[in-house]
Symmetry: C3
Subunit: 266 residues, 3 copies
């Protein structure tokens, strides 16, 4: 029962995700399909990059992850297949795999070119269905990655720039909100490892988080560490700094959104 | 092919449900996963209680139902696993299982404590992924409920209060709208068995339903029993009194919503 | 691993789709379930007709497709099961199968009447759960179509009228927008085969598309054939003429929606 996951910006209105699943099952009827999400904001490659990076580690070895956030479909952009830590990723070469390239030294990467593994006809507007889905299905059946196209080094792939938080000489960290979740929690790109030193000061409330016009003292352990409707910072389930409001919606309450800056200092 | 269902208030934006599925499949790759819904209103335990109560009876024996509506995550609240009518339920001890406790005399119930069945690390903010999902996966593999923690009696679990409709001495029934569905149908907590006596009077239109500022005569058999855009009462597919508008949206048309009162009298 | 797909207007709020899946798995636990979409606009039979027509061809032989867009539930309308090109379709007799009847000469069609294949109780408001789901599950197990009810000819089934574009003597084609997708692309009912002759003139920009108050020259090959934020016409992934805006939302930008007219002339 190999697993194929799907992560797209297709939303839930249309038949597009269903078509990808039909193509996959036409090739490999034994696969187990899992939707990671289809609600990535339209064409938001950065948001998708963090989502797949957070998700893949919860899947077993051999899983195949298809990522279709593809504003460049029909242009000259190519498609990639990556093997890393015994998992597989198929996606456009637009930077959506950036965070995965750094995960492990031993990766295998190809630029897709072998049409034997594509759908019988390839449209100009839906490579998710016509290339990514069938390639993923073949990978789930054990096709070797190097059958799919020419090997390249990760250095040759497109990478998102400036996605890491900045640390000033003063120790202050400046990050970005990369995602606002269903509950209105503001998820930053500041990984908890950057905060290890700072976190020791929590008890003294010497850590200060600035976001929008708000100043939030300290990093809490869970939502209920502050009274209802109060803002807090905590390490969210992704492992990144998250700004939340206990039993409330931080995005609405703080009037902060995706792309906004968050600063942490001691 | 054991079945695991998921019922949450996570919405569809994020990777959270996908992570739970990854955890489940990492433990039991043969499971069939079914989403009941992930659109329970944020932290609405009552709505979730009615949804799982309506849903479980359509699943075969051996099914495992995971319910994650968990405003108390990270506090001292515990988690439960329930076995009832050969089905299994894993959920926070916050009242979401209230309606199930009354379904059958022979139930088995434990408070989860055996970390052997949890994920390798347990976060403070996402017990759905770290405890409920792995415990459910182990149950689907045949792990005995009593391996998971200490047995308790249902009387020791948290229960929602005042969730049953009230019947006055005059026979009038006062209930509540517990859910507004996608079509705008207003679903009450008045079970059809409470209306058995009343329903006999339908033909004479001697039953009166009051909701908001509206008075609706009689209980119909289906939507088309009234002209388009007219309001009606009927026993919905859940088995509860439902207020609808034929080919229309009752919530919008009657300006009534969740939590509002509905009265039925002869 | 037979496949059953679901296409409904139930949305994602409620447990309704989950109940259908529970019923299916109670009858055939080995089935693979695929959601085509549950976001068909409420009771929009035409939109659903195009969606299933676009989707079915990507599924393998033996797949069973359940379509529940059913404004007439509880009235005298009947339910149908169709076998066509080795695939199966179960739906209300309300025209939602119209486009499939024309796909192939050799079809088998029955009006459902054999309650042996229905759920044990049949409600008056949810035939998707009580009839369509169990009938689909039985078909996926190999039950012969003619066991389900009396054979009828497609001519006896309800058909949607006026769903084909009109071609004037001048060669001008007048079609309709039948769906607006998640990205705001405007999907028409003008099939690319109607445009074969016209498309040859593309290079000279002698084709003119009129939609709303807008005039769009030519038919492009992909979104990026025009600059960002410019409107274009192209043959979309469904095989129909689609009006899009490169890296933008055509519905919002052109202020055009479902049901609006689109004209193509040389």
């Amino acid at each position: 029962m190999p697993i194929i996951t799907l992560l797209t910006d297709f939303g839930y209105r249309d038949e597009y995700v269903g078509l990808m699943k039909g193509v996959i099952l036409s090739i490999n009827p034994t696969v187990t399909l899992v939707d990671i999400t289809h609600a990535i904001d339209s064409q938001d490659i950065l948001q998708a990059a963090y989502a797949i990076h957070s998700a893949y580690r919860y899947f077993p070895a051999g899983s195949v992850h298809l990522i279709v956030v593809d504003p460049g479909v029909g242009t000259g952009r190519s498609l990639l297949a990556l093997e890393m830590k015994k998992q597989f990723f198929v996606a456009p070469d637009n930077g959506v795999l950036t965070l995965l390239f750094g995960e492990h030294d031993e990766t295998r990467l190809v630029r897709l070119s072998n049409a034997d593994y594509f759908w019988e006809t390839v449209s100009r507007t839906f490579h998710g269905r016509d290339i990514i889905a069938p390639v993923g299905a073949h990978l789930s059946q054990g096709t070797d990655l190097y059958q799919l196209g020419d090997a390249i080094s990760p250095a040759e792939a497109v990478r998102l720039k400036d996605i890491e938080p900045q640390r000033a000489d003063t120790g202050e960290i400046t990050g970005t909100i990369v995602s606002v979740d269903h509950f209105g929690n503001l998820i930053s790109n500041i990984h908890h490892q950057m905060l290890t030193q700072i976190e020791q000061f929590t008890a003294d409330n010497r850590v200060i988080i600035r976001i929008g016009s708000h100043v939030i003292p300290g990093i809490c352990r869970t939502y209920a560490d502050v009274p209802p409707n109060k803002a807090l910072g905590l390490i969210g389930s992704r492992g990144y700094l998250e700004i939340a409001v206990n039993k409330g919606n931080a995005a609405r309450r703080l009037n902060v959104g995706k792309g906004d800056t968050v600063q942490v200092k001691i």
